[in-house]
Every structure is written in structure tokens, then in C-alpha cells.
Symmetry: C2
Subunit: 200 residues, 2 copies
């Protein structure tokens, strides 16, 4: 059978999407080829429009329209400008916004410390964070990283770097997730919930 270079290239490009192996990419490519409703072109156009129209905010790292940079979250006067929420990625900002639990500003590190993946402190947007703390009169840095080892290491590193600054450092609470029962909780979650207990 002849070699179909455009098909091979499509499979290779699809394989680079997160969580997509070669088999899945092949299945996707064949579905796109057979699709009679122009999905191939619809997807290509959506990608080109997103590539043109979407950017990461140069200040906080959040996803924004290319024309609105710094983003809405950075410039809205209603938001508390004295508290910065530090997250791993722009997706985390969207999640926290959806929760409605935070009204300050954000700072995405664009990664976390991970020797396994070759991410060191220099790869994170920590320099920018320090500049912002100085320039914007930040009073509190709320670290909103996950509970995995790499997040813990990143939080410790931030705590160390921020210690000399005149800024309050907090971290989001760890404990039982909403709607869960003690019965179904794992030991590590329970231990963290107990050590983080609060007076009521």
C-alpha cells in the first residue's frame, strides 16, 4: 500500500496531544478522513483561530484574548489587588474562578518543580512573582497547589523564597472533599484533615 504522507503527519500531530497514544491518533485520523461533515477543516480553523485569538496573560499567565493582555482578572478594579493566588497553570485559574471562592489576583507558575520532568525553579515564573510582589504592593500570597509530592516541593520552595519579603504566605486547606464521608476517605486525606483542624 502506498505511503500517505499527509495521513502520517496527521497521526504524528494528533499523537502529541496529552493522553493520546499512537493507536488512538490513528483511529482519530481515520474518523476525520471518513467524516462527511467537514470536521477536519472545522477543527483546523478552530485551532488557527485559537492560536490567533488566545494568549497567556503576560502578567498572571491566565488564558486571555490576545487583544486583552494583561487579562481582565489582572485589570478589573473590583478585584482585591493585595492578595495573589499562585497556581500551577492557567487551567487552575479557570477552576478557581468557577468555584467563586477567590476575589484577588492570580499568578500561574506554568509548571511545578519536577526533577523527573526536568522542571527546575528557573523554569517557573518565580522571578515575575517576586517583581509583582514588590511592584503591586502584595500583602498575601495564597499558594493553591495540589497535594502531590511535586506540589509540596514547589510550595516549600516558594515559602523559602518569599520568607525575606514582607508578605503573608498561606496555602489552601487540605482535608475532606465536599460531600465525602469519613468512611470512604483515605488515610493521608484524613491525617491532613485532622492536622488542619479549625475551631468552630
Amino acid at each position: 500500500m502506498q505511503h500517505l504522507v499527509p495521513l502520517d503527519n496527521l497521526v504524528a500531530a494528533l499523537s502529541r496531544l496529552p493522553g493520546i497514544g499512537r493507536r488512538t491518533a490513528e483511529r482519530m485520523a481515520m474518523a476525520l478522513v471518513q467524516d462527511g461533515r467537514g470536521l477536519m477543516r472545522i477543527l483546523a480553523n478552530a485551532l488557527l483561530e485559537a492560536d490567533e485569538g488566545i494568549a497567556c496573560c503576560e502578567r498572571c499567565g491566565s488564558v486571555t484574548l490576545s487583544g486583552i493582555n494583561p487579562c481582565d482578572l489582572c485589570i478589573k478594579p473590583r478585584r482585591d489587588a493585595h492578595i495573589l493566588c499562585v497556581v500551577e497553570s492557567p487551567g487552575d485559574i479557570m477552576k478557581i474562578e468557577q468555584s467563586g471562592g477567590f476575589q484577588g489576583r492570580y499568578h500561574a507558575l506554568m509548571g511545578k518543580l519536577s526533577p523527573m520532568h526536568g522542571t527546575s525553579a528557573a523554569d517557573l515564573r518565580v522571578d515575575k512573582l517576586l517583581h509583582r510582589i514588590a511592584d503591586e504592593g502584595i500583602e498575601e500570597v495564597l499558594i493553591a497547589l495540589g497535594t502531590d509530592v511535586e506540589s509540596d516541593a514547589t510550595a516549600s520552595y516558594l515559602k523559602e523564597v518569599l520568607a525575606p519579603r514582607d508578605v503573608k504566605i498561606s496555602r489552601i486547606a487540605f482535608g475532606l472533599p465536599a460531600g465525602s464521608a469519613i468512611e470512604y476517605s483515605d488515610a493521608a486525606t484524613l491525617a491532613r484533615a485532622i492536622s488542619g483542624r479549625q475551631e468552630i
Copy 2:
């Protein structure tokens, strides 16, 4: 948070890929936004090039370069022009070619009978199959469909439609897959292997 139309459109387009739900599409879109190596544009270009350069052969339905239509498989003189292998989709043609077990020509139905998915006989390329049988002097039609209910229904339908024609109808064998043991076979596979037994 402001509504990012290009991002929403990208998520919607990615959700239309087979096996991709909304959550996965969102994760993919965010990975594409954050990717610093131009993956968004690479994927868009691969899609556009495939859309331009890849087509389904108008004769057999196989995947081919747009400029080579009918495809290589249809025009290669070395291939046996008297036997047509009927399959569900172009992907199946690639699979059978990779097996090296067939040297005739192909005909993809572009689907199978499926009341559940609203696919009726009129949606399949059966008319074209009948024309080809008459025009190309086909002597044998080898039905290479799977073992599911819909494939069985499609095979029965084809058998009925082809019965009045002067053509041998065969179907690929069902039995134990290569390298498997009786011990690990399911009852349905074993029953089919026994009923399809051959003299040795």
C-alpha cells in the same frame, strides 16, 4: 471571568473527535494553549494538509492521495481483479493490507447496518458494489466484516442482495485468534471455531 469564544470553539471541535468527551477536550485545549512549541499550528497545518491531500477512493472507498483516485489498490494490474473484499471502512482495508493475506480488490461500505445509529441499507455503498460486480467481472465477493450483531446483519443483507448475481459469496473465517489457547477462549468464539472446522 470573560468568555473566551476561540477557546470554547476549540473545545467544541475537539469534543467531536471519536472517544473524546468534554473534559478531555478541555484538557487538550489547555495543553495546546500552554504548549510553547507551536503544537496548535502544527496540528492545524497537518489537518489542512490532510484535508487537501487525502481523499477516499471514489471506487473502493480506501484512503488515497487526492491526486491518485481511483487509488493504487484499484488500478494496480498485479492485483486479482476478480475478487472483491467488502469491508466496513477504509481503516479495515489498511488492516487487511498490513496482514498481507489478500491480493484482490476492495470495496468499503462506509458503515454497517445499524438501526441504533440510523444506518440503513441506503446509507451503505451497496449500489456501487452491485455496479462494480457487473462492470468489473467480479467472480467472488469476500465479506470481511466483524463478529458483532450489526456485522452479521450486514453480511446477511449482502448475501440476500448478491444471491441473484452470478458471483461466489464468501466470508472470512471466525475462530480462535492467532496465538491463543483453548483454555482462554470464550464460549462464542469456540462455538464458531468448531462450526467452522476444516479438514486437514
